[in-house]
């Protein structure tokens, strides 16, 4: 089951830091769900793209967004 990281209560740069820490626990090409507030979308997504990860799914959860993040790298 894909783990979910809730950063809706966090602000930059902790949003970025927590996603980075969350992804560190995931194997290459693994998935992590990230639940985040609108304000965090730009910084989190742009830093994910910069580090080579992919956002493969997006859905709304009331006032928040749920991103499905695919970690960069090849499946071990």
């Amino acid at each position: 089951m894909t783990p979910t990281l809730d950063i809706t209560k966090d602000v930059c740069p902790m949003t970025f830091v927590k996603v980075k820490m969350g992804l560190a626990k995931i194997p290459p090409a693994g998935k992590l769900n990230v639940l985040l507030a609108e304000d965090a979308l730009k910084n989190v997504i742009s830093s994910l793209k910069q580090e080579g990860h992919r956002v493969s799914g997006v859905s709304r959860r009331e006032s928040a967004f749920l991103l499905v993040v695919e970690k960069e790298g090849e499946r071990p």
Binding site: K42, I45, S46, V55, S56, V58, R60, F65
Partner: protein, 292 residues
């Protein structure tokens, strides 16, 4: 110096202080940048010729206060040896300000310091009806307050939407600070209101699929802004310019207009209020062969 010509000294960046016989020496700073060596020379000059203090002005200017009249020539020569010029005052093109631009700042869209050097080289200290300030912001965050300058420049990036990769997730709409992006899932469209777009590029940066790509990117110009006693925000002129050369040509044309239409001691914004912005737009269109 036997007879002191205060007017001439002021023109050359030496400003008479309240205290008799003392001057604040304004330095030539371009885009807020000094090398460490230049900075050291400024510190040495302040200690040697002033009272060991330096003033940082509101527009990235650097001044050495408390220099006695008899040391003005010496401080100028001393600073010149370290590649630091003295500034200007009076009815001239003043300090060109800039942020650190795209080489340093993650938000930067244009190389603001590089453009500042080009604008400074071409126009700094040149005569105009009244003081004329140019400020360059590398992106829509506008740290250098483009609209507060006689001519302001902003790095600008506009999106172009591609249907193919779009997942209609709504992130572009959610992140747009000016609500210029509208996603219509039923019709399968995403539209961007060009009048509302502030050129920040947030929608492009946030798009997970790359459906929001770069459309237009370049330099956005604002004319007629000022602060001081009666502040006025500059207005957007021309379309997005593509190169630093185009920006320099546009400023050249703006200065020609100001020299032809501006009255002595009338700020550019006041000239534009009097003549109308459309007069400037038509002049620029003719001069630069672009649509107003």
């Amino acid at each position: 110096m036997n007879v002191v010509d205060f007017k001439e000294l002021k023109k050359g960046g030496m400003m008479r202080q309240k205290e008799a016989g003392r001057f604040s020496v304004r330095l030539h700073v371009v885009g807020g940048g000094f090398s460490a060596g230049q900075m050291r020379a400024v510190c040495d000059a302040a200690e040697r010729y002033g009272r060991g203090t330096i003033h940082l002005s509101a527009r990235q200017g650097v001044e050495i206060p408390n220099v006695p009249t008899e040391s003005l020539a010496a401080v100028k020569e001393f600073l010149g040896g370290a590649g630091v010029g003295v500034g200007v005052c009076g009815p001239t093109v003043r300090t060109v300000t800039a942020c650190q631009g795209c080489r340093i700042c993650p938000s930067g869209v244009i190389d603001a310091p590089e453009l500042a050097v080009a604008v400074d080289r071409e126009f700094y200290g040149k005569p105009v009806p009244h003081k004329f300030k140019v400020g360059i912001s590398g992106c829509a965050n506008n740290c250098l307050k483009a609209e507060e300058n006689d001519i302001g420049v902003k790095g600008w990036i506009e999106p172009r939407w591609k249907r193919g990769p779009c997942g209609f997730c709504g992130i572009c709409e959610a992140v747009c600070p000016s609500k210029a992006v509208s996603v219509c899932t039923e019709r399968g469209t995403v539209s961007v209101d060009p009048a509302g777009c502030i050129g920040c590029g947030d929608c492009i940066e946030s798009c997970p699929t790359g459906a929001m790509g770069i459309g237009n990117q370049g330099y956005r110009l604002y004319a007629g802004g000022k602060f001081g006693r009666i502040p006025f925000l500059g207005r957007r002129i021309l379309d997005i310019l593509r190169t630093p050369e185009e920006v320099v040509a546009a400023i050249q044309a703006v200065l020609e207009f100001y020299r032809a239409e501006g009255k002595q001691r009338e700020r550019f914004g006041d000239t534009l209020q009097r003549t109308g912005f459309d007069t400037l737009e038509s002049f620029l269109a003719e001069r630069m062969c672009v649509s107003p």
